[in-house]
Amino acid sequence: MMDFTKKRVLIIDDSSAMCSSLKHTLGNLGIGKCETSNSGNEAIFRIRQREFDIIVCDYCLGEGSDGQQILEQLRKSALISPSVAFLMVTAERGYEKVVSCAELAPDDYLLKPFTPETIRLRLERVFEKKETFKVIYELLAQGNSAGAIVECDLLLDLKNKFAIDLIRMKGELLISLDRHEEARVLYEQVISARAIPWARIGLAKTLSMAGMADEAIEILELAIADTPQYLEAYDLLAKEHETQGQTALAQAILEQAVEISPQTLSRQTRVGEMAYRNGDLEKARRAFGIVVDQGRYSFFRSPSDFIRLSKVHLDEGQQDKALSVIADARKSFDKTPDFELETSVMESLIYHGASNREASMLALEKALEMKEKNGLVLPESSHLDLAKSCFLNDKVEEGRSLVKDIVSNFYDDEKVQGMVGQMLEQVGRAEESKELVENSVRDVIKLNNEGVSLAKKGDLAGAIALLVSAAQRMPQNVQVALNAAHALIVDSDRNGWNETQMDMARYLLREHEAKYSSLEKYKKINGLMKEVGLKFGVNIT
């Protein structure tokens, strides 16, 4: 029997009677340190105060909050580590439906009533599984995914009882390392025995990575037909259609998913964004409205939800509503420089829409000042809004320079360039659009070439100075980042180990790893970095 005496437990249940009964049951298992919370927010407060080993949470917490939301918030914000056991308690079978739709599942769930013996056995099993995966999680924490795959194989060869979980983990790791061929074989094996939804999703991902978009779509549609409650399939399918330029179709698919599970606010946000892109203001307003309303009492709400909603109101010509959403946001959030900047940008646009030129100019000047003073990097949509406001308030030069920044940052992103074109059209500068975009792209290419040619001429210091500052100005530009990293690494290779520069190179590469690790050039420079590290006896992860 497992020793539970040292485990710290948090029970979350809106009924105090249930809390004390559960506390007693757990006490009988030998658990001494047991705290209780009657609401989600109180629980999150406690979890921020100290660490727990076990969280037992009731699914139904009353007043618009449920255990699944808490679980997702805790795991997504990494407030609890993977070693924490999270058990969901539910009164009815309905929760299984929730858990099968959710991206994140608890470690296990229990249907009321359950005996002390049941909860004991379930907890033992959860910890047994966590123990099995411990080495794998440790390797992952060190960034060693390839090692984690080897460990999975090792355990699978030993006929480990958590085989199916190990296979699932291995598939995800293979995909993360772009080893999609191996992953595909793995998923096909699983599916040949049983068409489990996660295996189908995995297979679709590998097909998409292999450039077989149509086959991926077919698998996803099959998964949705068989298990319509499995929502990840909708997300992926929407993404596939979006990549193919079918944004209306992507929106419709996301809407279906939201219909099934309206509680997942991140998906509501995606619906809103997609609808906004498609010019479907009514749907966008509805989606962002839900996000703002339902996220109101959550620890994890974000000002950008308010900004998005305000923007839809503005586009619909409802300046009053747009302004009141911003006022609402001002009351709800800490006034960080980022927040001040984004809200000021919105206010300048709203006042302009309401023909209050003076107030618009004032808000714009405040925004420009905030940006200048704090050296802030804005999300692309706010960046564009700031440029728009400049054009509207006759600060044409500032507007152009902002557009130039954004285009050079996203020089290979058609979506962002489309947004730039749209904005320029709205401010009556459609004819400048092509030239502005082309010039900006040309400037980046020129700068890149200058850096590379300096490096070729042997002026590494000059190349580094040029490229690193450019990489900082355009954090999204992968070509600039790769060239900068290359110059930094070559410098260490030729002139001896330079810790600061190698750190910088590593940082630049890792920033783009998620999106571009399959790029040939990325692999080459990443490999060179490791080689140079080895040459100087430094192991770079």
């Binding site: 009964s21 009533p113 013996e117």
Partner: protein
């Protein structure tokens, strides 16, 4: 005086909601009973009664679901060995000290796909039946055969009557083992994989007598 119109009410739904509420109250009552420290026969018996009431409530809710909507299983992967461990522990509570519940998981696969809660209900119903006929022992067995996971409950009583074995499904509701078997059959049926679906099998033990209740899950 004005007459108040009696609006039409959906009796079925209201009954289901009330059964649900009773089930929740039972859960609370059971947790409360668990907090009683004294060892007392009346308390032990009350606990047992609560379990039985609860199992009946579950049955009624399930029946309601079967009648009113399509019952979809929530299939996930579980270890049949863990499942049997837990099931035996809980069945032993129902059985008390007279009847011993034993397990045999030597030939169980390391994982299988099924709806844990539904299968537990089906199996628990089999335990309720077996307890009425068992002399000393009930055996729970899990093993793999012909691409199926087989979960068996075997008692050492007098076995199923011959006429029941002849045409099981149609006789289900007319015997005193009734509803439980009907539900077990329905639960087995909704477990599907590729082209095969689950089966309920009833037979008598060849060596000793005793009834064998078997769920075969693809």
């Amino acid at each position: 005086m004005n007459l108040i119109d009696t609006p039409h009410i959906d009796v079925k739904t209201i009954i289901a909601l009330n059964v649900h509420e009773v089930k929740n109250l039972m859960a609370l009552l059971m947790f409360k009973l668990d907090t009683v420290q004294v060892v007392d026969d009346a308390i032990t018996e009350s606990r047992l009664l609560c379990h039985r009431v609860n199992d009946h409530m579950e049955r009624m809710l399930l029946l309601f679901k079967l009648q009113s909507e399509h019952l979809t299983p929530h299939i996930s992967d579980y270890s049949p060995i863990d499942f049997v461990d837990e099931f035996v522990a809980n069945a032993q509570i129902l059985a008390g000290s007279e009847i011993k519940i034993v397990k045999d998981v030597a030939d169980a696969p390391s994982y299988w796909f099924f709806d844990r809660e539904l299968v537990e209900i089906a199996m628990m119903n089999a335990i309720h039946n077996a307890l009425r006929f068992a002399q000393h022992e009930i055996k729970i067995r899990a093993y793999q055969a012909n691409q199926m996971l087989v979960l068996e409950v075997t008692d050492d009583g007098s076995g199923y009557p011959a006429e029941m074995l002849a045409a099981p499904v149609t006789t289900f509701l007319q015997t005193n083992r009734g509803l439980g078997l009907y539900l077990a059959h329905a639960i087995a049926q909704i477990h599907t994989n590729k082209n095969s679906h689950g089966q309920l099998s009833l037979h008598n033990n060849q060596h000793s007598h005793g009834a064998v209740f078997g769920l075969q899950l693809p």
